[in-house]
């Protein structure tokens, strides 16, 4: 839902980031307002997950330029845990297994960290159990998963559901879902997408990273962005995704070549 007067939640400007001195993000700009659903598509290796991890604060990535404002605040100055507490959520493409740490306990600590930031009271074990049972319905997940270690031995699809369960508990303002649809069977895809729709509201925003139109059939994006070689190459409405489905990414190469050569020329000009 696009409303031009809705508050800006996330403002990414010319964001650049490297891993081990290798530039990956080469100037990403993106504005996300409350109520909006954005989809980011693009070839494997184009930098989609990197963008999501830089936003969440992964220590492996070094920001080399640009800025990110989260509700007007400098997001990049915050520790990852603080970003989460103020309402940024990253649904991982590859959720991590944490042996020995109970899923239930993990969810409770995480939920309370967010609640504390919001000024809500801490939930004890009993109150939390009630809440978690209610939220389990969003993803139609078996309560047995609560008693296991975080993601340990979960199937690919189960891990993705666990991500959405976390999102349902944390009630983020900006949710970045990195390929939450991949690895899901047809029923699970419908359930997970239904969950995401259910959680979306006029006050929050969702950034979906996906390769497939079938997700966007269920969750209708307001904007579709195409990422290539660490940039957002094109932005359009939901029809852009359909176009990509049809014609693929071949056109991207020429465009990238043009961009890289102009920037090379610019650099030569600046140096010379």
């Amino acid at each position: 839902m696009i409303r031009s007067d809705a508050p800006v939640l996330l403002e990414i400007r010319d964001l650049r980031a490297s891993v081990e001195d290798q530039p990956i993000l080469k100037g990403v700009s993106l504005t996300i307002r409350a109520g909006e659903i954005h989809a980011v598509m693009g070839r494997n290796g184009s930098g989609k997950s990197t963008l999501s991890k830089v936003l969440a604060g992964h220590p492996a990535y070094r920001v080399t330029g640009g800025s990110v404002l989260y509700r007007g605040e400098d997001l990049l100055a915050l520790q990852p845990e603080q970003r989460a507490r103020i309402g940024l959520f990253l649904g991982f493409q590859y959720p991590i297994e944490i042996p020995g740490v109970s899923n239930l306990e993990f969810l409770r600590v995480a939920t309370n960290a967010r609640r504390q930031e919001q000024g809500s009271e801490e939930l004890d074990t009993f109150a939390f159990e009630d809440l978690v049972r209610e939220r389990l319905q969003v993803v139609q997940m078996d309560p047995a998963f609560l008693d296991r270690s975080v993601n340990e031995g979960f199937s690919g699809g189960e891990k993705k559901r666990n991500e959405i369960l976390q999102m349902a508990l944390l009630e983020p303002l900006v949710a970045i879902l990195d390929e939450t649809d991949s690895g899901l069977d047809i029923d699970a895809l419908r359930i997970v997408a239904g969950g995401v729709n259910q959680l979306a509201s006029a006050d929050n925003a969702t950034l979906l990273i996906t390769h497939y139109q079938r997700l966007l059939d269920v969750i209708t994006p307001d904007y579709v962005h195409v990422m290539a070689a660490g940039r957002i190459l094109r932005t359009g409405g939901k029809e852009l995704a359909l176009e990509l489905e049809e014609s693929g990414y071949d056109w991207v190469d020429a465009e990238i070549e043009r961009l890289e050569s102009t920037s090379a020329q610019r650099i030569t000009a600046e140096v010379g």
Partner: protein, 480 residues
Amino acid sequence: MTSAATVGDLVSQPYKYGFVTDIETEKIAKGLSEDVVRLISAKKDEPAFLLDFRLRAYRQWLQMEEPDWAAIGHPPIDYQNIIYYAAPKQQDKKASLDEVDPKLLETFEKLGIPLSEQKRLTNVAVDAVFDSVSIATTYKEKLAEHGVIFCSISEAVKEHAELIERYLGSVVPSNDNYFAALNSAVFSDGSFVFIPKGVACPMDLSTYFRINSGDTGQFERTLIVAEAGASVSYLEGCTAPMFDTNQLHAAVVELVTLEDASIKYSTVQNWYAGDEKGVGGIYNFVTKRGQCRGDRSHISWTQVETGSAITWKYPSCVLQGADSVGEFYSVALTNNRQQADTGSKMIHVGPRTRSTIVSKGISAGHSSNSYRGLVQMGPKAVGARNYSQCDSMLIGDQAAANTYPYIRSQQPDASIEHEASTCRISADQLFYLQSRGIGFEEAVSMMVSGFCRDVFNQLPMEFAAEADKLLALKLEGSVG
């Protein structure tokens, strides 16, 4: 960017218990000789049998060599440069706590062990040992009503000489090993516990060891005897100030259970570990052994080892009685330059004896952490069983973990099962927890306590939470 700043700040987190109590101490001259052994015995006004025990041990020690098989390294220890007896200056042990030097009471209070009547821990009786002597034991009278003896070993030598003569050195003979021989020659104080037939000790017992002097060795001796059908849960804690020299701690603990008796012995060891560069810290060479003499008796060791520059320690069970049970649950954490070589020995003698070993080693920084364990099935151990599980967790990429399981079986009808695993806390796991709003330190401690859960579950409740906090504190700044 994320954690670098916090890591830096937290590495310099000081050891909480590193203070020195300024108190007048009576010390004897440095060095060890037969005269020194006689002097210690004379100072303690000991009966002849004990002086003989000490002298025999001393002569045995002279013939022995420091063991070199453990995976530890340290400069040679100069045994002539150690003081073998130091005691806070006050007359004989005080009849009442009111007469104990307030500085000593204050010290223990600062360590979280209040001794005075009003403040002392409810439901735990404490024997407080400061340098070489026991300064106070709480709840003695209450325990006496049940026939339980809980006092310092020096006191027991005088008041219960026949028990001491019967049991001292009966589990760990004075020539058992180099450090046990040294301890037998010069041991200063420690605790004695006797639970008479059929009595379940009405409260937990605990000894708190505090080293205060910088140049003194601590050689305490603990003896716990549970008669037929008796049971007790005992907890040992220890801390020391920070000195840039190394101090030697060589203790001996002996446990005896008769038929159907059980002893649960828990340790939370937090001696000063030295600084990040490995300067200073306690050398902890300890011999702990329990003997299940009676049928169906039970000895359980639980240890949380977080301190000391060097830990050399193998709490063991000799399972003589038929159907007796031995257990060893251990968490050993090393950080910075600490070295630990620890594990257990389960010696199955009697039929259908059972033992369990669960060892969790956590190594961070540049430390080295080895599990070394022996499971032995003697010829009569028909139907005996052992299960061992040794897990290592590595934090960072400079730490080392090793496992040395030794198995000897002379009984084909005995079963031995051994499992081992190694894992590493990865930056991605920490980031995952952080990205859910969980702080860096809490994330580490969640993972570590998850790893240690099987062992913490064995600790008395109030100490399990302590142990959790202690590990978190020790690990602050070690992941990055």
